[in-house]
């Protein structure tokens, strides 16, 4: 059965029916990330497809609201028309996951998905200022609002952002937005080994000229030579100045080239969407979140025991790692390495069998797991929403 409510009242009514019949559902936005998480089977799907459209846009207040099923592309176009953008550069994982469909506002919020600009401008959860959602009893709830500063009551938006549909059905999200930068410029350093590259990125992020993105592509990942990249954004004349200062400060790392306009944008789009690692398809893809300066160290430890290809974003704090699926895709090694260095790892792409065998989401500490399970019960007492997606049994 497929449910496609066209309004909030209808969504509430349908969820009340599901609750009465104790019928769990798979929640779906654009359907582009259905292969993330533990494979689950439900008799019904609840889609935000018909809950679409921008409901509020006040450019002078830097705030926009859209219903959960709104295609991101539509939102982005509306913002671009007024010279603005979502600060967190939402990624598009269709190439990576080999999926079709349209990424939606609700899907991005559910995954707290954030692109390269996250290192400088915050994640999706930081831009999200309000949410409307339906809980597992079929009640419409609101948290936050449409103003940028709001500490009234518990910040449930944070909890829902990144909950992957396991707490509630999102119906509308409100974001703060930023002016779209007038220009961008990328400094490109070639030939650095990974540890030097991450050192460069971290040093650059600590200067008074902080880049809006900092990434490293090792040799063979999207190009033949290793490339270390810093993106500057802003008014054209300001970024020219900052680029000069940065190049001076980073002199010890060698000379750098400058990429502007479309060339720079295309490169960052590819990094955002993890395109260089998309092929070959059969490889598993891990997403490691680490203290940025530990990025290269984590990879070196893993590589010592297992073949892999990587891409570094967020100044080293986000490592995309592709490896063969054999032996549980290195789950134990990847997770223990990440954890030992203060991070965690999520399996973003893997075969159905693999995702059944190992938990795709990083298992939390025991006490935290207990809190999470109880939180889930609080929002969704009957366990209707995406049961078992995050971990078996909850």
């Amino acid at each position: 059965m497929r449910l496609e409510p066209a309004g909030e009242a209808e969504a509430c009514a349908q969820i009340r029916t599901l609750a009465r019949e104790r019928m769990p559902v798979r929640i779906e936005g654009g359907g582009t990330r259905q292969a993330i998480g533990r494979p689950i089977q439900t008799a019904a799907t609840l889609s935000s497809h018909k809950l679409a459209g921008i409901t509020l846009y006040e450019p002078a207040e830097m705030v926009v609201a859209a219903r959960a099923g709104t295609p991101l592309a539509e939102l982005d176009a509306a913002l671009a028309a007024k010279g603005q953008m979502l600060p967190f550069e939402p990624p598009d994982y269709r190439a990576l996951l080999g999926s079709a469909g349209e990424p939606t506002v609700g899907g991005v919020v559910a995954g707290n998905l954030s692109g390269p600009r996250r290192i400088a401008a915050g994640a999706c959860r930081d831009a999200l200022i309000g949410l409307r959602f339906v809980d597992g009893r079929g009640e419409l709830m609101r948290t936050g609002g449409r103003v940028m500063k709001n500490v009234t009551g518990l910040d449930l938006a944070k909890l829902l952002c990144g909950s992957w549909g396991t707490l509630a059905f999102l119906v509308e999200a409100t974001f703060k937005v930023l002016p779209r930068p007038e220009a961008e410029l990328t400094l490109l350093f070639e030939g650095l080994p990974e540890d030097r590259a991450i050192a460069l990125l971290c040093a650059a992020m600590g200067t008074p000229y902080p880049p809006s993105a900092a990434a490293h592509l090792p040799a063979g990942v999207g190009g033949t030579r290793p490339r270390t990249l810093l993106r500057l954004e802003g008014f054209a004349e300001a970024i020219g100045y900052r680029a000069d200062r940065l190049a001076e400060r980073l002199f010890e790392y060698g000379r750098c080239e400058r990429l502007e306009g479309a060339a720079s944008a295309a490169l960052w789009r590819a990094i955002r969407d993890v395109e260089p690692l998309a092929e070959p398809r059969e490889r598993a893809i891990w997403r490691l979140s680490l203290p940025p300066r530990r990025g290269a160290e984590a990879v070196a430890r893993i590589r010592a025991e297992r073949a892999c290809e990587v891409l570094y974003d967020w100044s080293g704090g986000l490592v995309w790692l592709a490896t063969e699926e054999e032996e549980d895709a290195g789950c134990g090694l990847v997770r223990s390495t990440a954890a030992a260095l203060g991070g965690h790892a999520m399996l973003v792409r893997g075969s159905r069998e693999l995702r059944l065998r190992i938990p795709p989401f990083h298992p939390p500490a025991e006490r935290v797991r207990a809190l999470e399970a109880q939180l889930q019960k609080t929002f969704d007492p009957l366990g209707l929403f995406d049961p078992g997606l995050r971990a078996a049994g909850i």
Partner: protein, 479 residues
């Protein structure tokens, strides 16, 4: 003021004071860290919401997470209410004790544990003051961005509990946007590490949930914060306008032009006069409204941005433009604004409201606020963060006149209802505490409040942490 009710103290707990104090003394390393003498307890009887006060049973000042855990576990087991406390600068009464409660203060846990410039993070104990973080990282060329005006005194623990903001949050965000991890002591004494030095944490965003939870989920003893590189420079410009409308329209156009200043502060005429009399900052006392707009970057960047800003201001009839030309002038311009609360306190008692509104409604809300307060026979002065619509109307009254005090409280409530009515909220950065507790139903439905209350009970099933705050006392628990 007496309008806000407190839960009645439990006589059985009051009767056990000596026994509880003795037990607490056994749990801490230095018995002096438990205060029970009424005279020594007096500084803890209220916070910056001074109209209300209650002497707690005792105060404990643990020196480590382990001590805090032992103390909290004991109190929870014995069913004794606990009020977490930082520096007691809450303007919402968030740290006001109950007579049958024990205050757990983190002020003695104030060390910097690690500074990691490459990672742009600092790990600190939560009792450290806000400004001490910036001071500690300054030698590495960094600062901690959220800067409440109380930053000299207030603790990071309080900032986390209230999700505090500051003058510069237009660009850098508030506490929640600069917080990566917390060490949280739960009521059963277990200690959980949420988040850390990485940019996100696995599972639900519990760091985000704890931030702004007003001391009701656990005791925060340590935190990892994001630190940022100091800009090359920063400079404010002071702009005076013949009307609040003109100043409001100027703010809207600055933002629409794609300029993102680090701060846009607004003061109306009464506030300008009060601050000028106090700080001699050279403010234009005839102006109806004034903006302080600060931008940062290199000298050239600053010149270019200020040129754009003043050009916009000219289109809105700006009457005075005063660009800072030196560090002294910058300090001078900010001095008036930063001392606004103190200066106001010298001429009258005041209550400081903290609602947020959509900035597009600014002129209308300013006019209606003035009408509301005048209707109660009182005066109001306005200083606030204009870029994000977070208002701080100061309602002036005489604290020794109970009838005037009641009118001030009523005017404040009307103003906050107005904020909600126009699409805003009750509190932008000070928190709900006891002050706005009974207004929560103007912003949330009972079902929404019940959901929040059940989230709270996941962490604290018997509601012993900071009871009587945030949620209306008669809120019925959700099934």
């Amino acid at each position: 003021m007496t309008g806000i009710a407190f839960p009645a103290p439990d006589p059985r707990i009051l009767a056990r004071k000596a026994e509880i104090v003795a037990a607490l003394r056994r749990l801490v390393s230095d018995p002096e860290d438990v205060i029970d003498d009424p005279v020594e307890l007096a500084p803890y009887e209220t916070d910056a919401f001074t109209a209300y006060r209650r002497l707690p049973l005792a105060v404990v000042l643990p020196r480590s997470t382990a001590e805090a855990s032992r103390v909290l576990a004991y109190l929870a087991r014995e069913g004794v209410k606990v009020v977490p406390r930082g520096a007691g600068t809450s303007l919402a009464g968030g740290a006001i004790p109950l007579e049958d409660s024990v205050v757990i203060g983190v002020a003695r846990m104030n060390r910097v544990l690690a500074i990691d410039p490459l990672n742009r993070t600092a790990r600190v104990e939560a009792g450290i003051t806000n400004l001490a973080i910036t001071n500690a990282v300054a030698e590495h060329g960094f600062f901690y961005a959220p800067d409440p005006s109380s930053q000299l005194a207030c603790t990071l623990a309080g900032n986390i509990a209230m999700n505090s903001g500051g003058a510069h949050c237009l660009k850098y965000g508030v506490t929640t946007n600069n917080l990566l991890g917390v060490t949280l002591v739960l009521v059963d004494g277990s200690v959980v590490e949420l988040g850390g030095e990485a940019l996100d944490a696995p599972g639900y965003d519990l760091v985000g949930l704890v931030c702004g939870s007003e001391g009701q989920l656990g005791i925060v003893t340590e935190a990892v914060v994001r630190i940022l590189p100091q800009p090359e420079g920063a400079r404010p410009v002071l702009l005076a306008f013949p009307s609040s409308e003109a100043a409001g329209a100027c703010v809207a156009e600055i933002i629409a032009a794609g300029i993102l200043p680090v701060a846009i502060e607004f003061m109306d005429n009464p506030a300008i006069r009060i601050c000028e009399a106090f700080a001699k900052a050279g403010y234009p006392v005839e102006a109806a409204a004034m903006l302080i707009v600060e931008v940062e970057g290199s000298d050239r960047e600053i010149d270019a941005e200020l040129a754009r800003i003043t050009q916009i201001a000219r289109r809105h009839g700006v009457t005075t433009i005063k660009e800072s030309r030196s560090a002294t002038e910058t300090a001078q311009i900010w001095k008036g604004r930063k001392s606004a609360f103190g200066a106001t306190g010298r001429i009258a008692d005041y209550i400081c409201m903290d609602g947020t509104i959509p900035t597009g409604r600014l002129p209308e809300v300013l006019r209606r606020m003035e009408e509301i307060v005048r209707g109660y026979g009182l005066r109001v002065a306005n200083v606030f963060h204009a870029g994000d619509g977070n208002l701080h109307p100061l309602i002036l009254y005489d604290v020794n006149d109970p009838e005037q005090a009641a009118r001030a409280e009523a005017a404040g409530a009307d103003i906050l209802k107005l904020c909600v009515e126009v699409g805003g909220c009750l509190t932008g950065e000070h928190g709900v505490g006891i002050e706005k507790r009974d207004l929560m139903r103007h912003q949330f439905t009972d079902a929404e409040l019940a959901l929040q209350a059940s989230v709270r009970r996941v962490f604290d099933p018997t509601e012993i942490l900071n009871p009587g705050k945030v949620f209306p006392l008669d809120l019925r628990a959700a099934a």
